[in-house]
């Protein structure tokens, strides 16, 4: 039986790990390769690197960062941020990514998912969806780090993205992200029910019980950044808690 996965996330800008709430007030949080090795050693099942560089120069560093992380990392690595074309993805895969995640570019150009899946396979193609609660009900997609709402229903977009070739969904709650108040479990349940690919819960984790709630809601994996950055806890320790709730984990 497949285990539930715990996935730390590193936000990287210009080759350095950064931390912030909703991409604001970013501060330096260390060397990506060092952090990646520490996460693997403390029980991470996979690692996600999101490149949040603001400039093309910073973006060009992403492949170097991925290569440096790959040298030390023996678990799967997903890389996202700024991928607009098949060539961008190819560069990151050549550098050592095992999967790439696309967000804004896929909303603008949904056929990008088809091109990525055709070239690299579904298992390489992750759709990252940032979803915000819609006052009128449901959730809508937000893009460009939250500055733009294209008027897309998040659950419908998840279904469409999978039909086009996405093999996994990285689902972030825009309302919960950075708040440490827990995942949006209703969002997780709605999207998990709508698709037959793994859903990774993201946005809002503060402690292990929050991760358990996300798994109960239907997530196959849980992603968290801040709770691991500060050394409050480790993936291994949260997996101990998850296991006590009856979920299979890798230990």
């Amino acid at each position: 039986m497949l285990t539930r996965r715990v996935i730390p996330c590193l936000d990287v800008r210009d080759g350095r790990v950064v931390k912030g709430v909703r991409f604001q007030n970013l501060r330096d949080a260390g060397d990506p390769a060092e952090q990646a090795a520490r996460y693997e050693a403390t029980g991470a099942d996979e690692l996600v690197i999101l490149d949040v560089s603001a400039t093309p120069e910073g973006r060009a560093n992403a492949a170097h960062t991925v290569a440096a992380v790959r040298r030390v990392l023996g678990i799967p690595l997903t890389v996202g941020g700024g991928i607009r074309a098949v060539d961008d993805a190819a560069r990151l895969l050549d550098a050592g990514a095992d999967k790439v995640s696309v967000n804004t570019a896929a909303v603008t150009d949904p056929a990008l998912l088809e091109r990525l899946a055709a070239r690299f396979g579904r298992q390489f193609t992750v759709i990252a969806i940032d979803a915000a609660r819609n006052p009128a009900g449901g959730w809508e997609v937000v893009v460009r780090s939250g500055t733009h709402r294209p008027g897309l229903d998040a659950v419908g977009w998840a279904r469409d993205a999978v039909a086009r070739g996405a093999g996994e969904i990285l689902l972030t709650s825009w309302d919960q992200d950075g708040t440490r108040e827990g995942y949006d479990t209703a969002l997780l349940a709605a999207v998990s029910d709508a698709v037959d690919v793994p859903v990774i819960a993201s946005g809002g984790a503060d402690h292990a019980e929050h991760l358990v709630e996300a798994l109960r809601a239907g997530a196959d994996a849980v992603l968290a950044a801040s709770i691991f950055h500060d050394g409050d806890t480790t993936p291994a320790r949260v997996k101990d808690v998850i296991a006590t709730h009856g979920f299979e984990v890798r230990r």
Binding site: L2, T3, I75, D94, D98
Partner: protein, 199 residues
């Protein structure tokens, strides 16, 4: 030790190369059948479909080089699609003959499980294994062998029913999972294989 890594096209090699280097291997990417035949150790990664995979091997005579290596118990590891290519045939590409090293056919996962199988699953080796140990391995596959072929030790996993997670015979290893992505457990397996290769 030099490890000839067979490059059949679409496979993403960066993780494999990094994994082999971490255990002291010296990977050299090649499509040259002579180099694959003569290298002290050979590694066949595999991503993509069975039919195109076999076509790529046959095109350069790599199929014969691999068959001879394995028959002579020369150190060889085949992973993911690489393991499936050792079989006689696959449901994925009907009518295409595999390398025929393993007496078995590859079928698709069935039942109420995620396909592709995507993630960490527990691996149970048979008692005669010398390289494989129990542990969690990282998988990304839709197809698999159903039963251990005669003459081979190996390991089974469970994804809607038992499937072949790995096979081993002497210094030849076939893994349905990705040892290079299976953490310290996978790294230890690659190290044991390279150590056996050095003997």
């Amino acid at each position: 030790m030099k490890v000839a890594v067979v490059h059949t096209g679409v496979a993403n090699l960066a993780s494999v190369l990094a994994g082999l280097r971490r255990v002291g291997g010296d990977p050299v990417v090649t499509t040259d059948a002579d180099e694959v035949a003569e290298a002290p150790a050979a590694f066949l990664p595999g991503v993509g479909a069975f039919g195109p995979g076999m076509e790529a091997l046959r095109a350069g005579g790599l199929d014969q080089a691999l068959r001879e290596r394995i028959a002579a118990d020369r150190p060889t590891t085949c992973i993911c699609l690489g393991l499936q290519l050792l079989a006689r045939a696959s449901e994925e590409s009907p009518g295409v003959a595999g390398l025929g090293v393993l007496d078995g056919e590859v079928t698709r996962f069935r039942g109420d499980v995620l396909v592709p199988q995507f993630g960490w699953n527990l691996v149970h080796p048979t008692p005669g294994c010398r390289l494989l140990e129990p542990g969690h391995a990282y998988f990304a596959n839709s197809y698999k062998l159903d039963a251990l072929p005669p003459g081979w030790e190996g390991a089974l996993g469970d994804h809607g029913g038992p499937f072949v997670a790995a096979v081993e015979r002497g210094r030849v290893l076939g893994c349905q999972f990705h040892p290079e992505l299976s953490g310290v457990w996978g790294q230890a397996l690659l190290r044991r294989w390279l150590e056996a290769a050095a003997c």
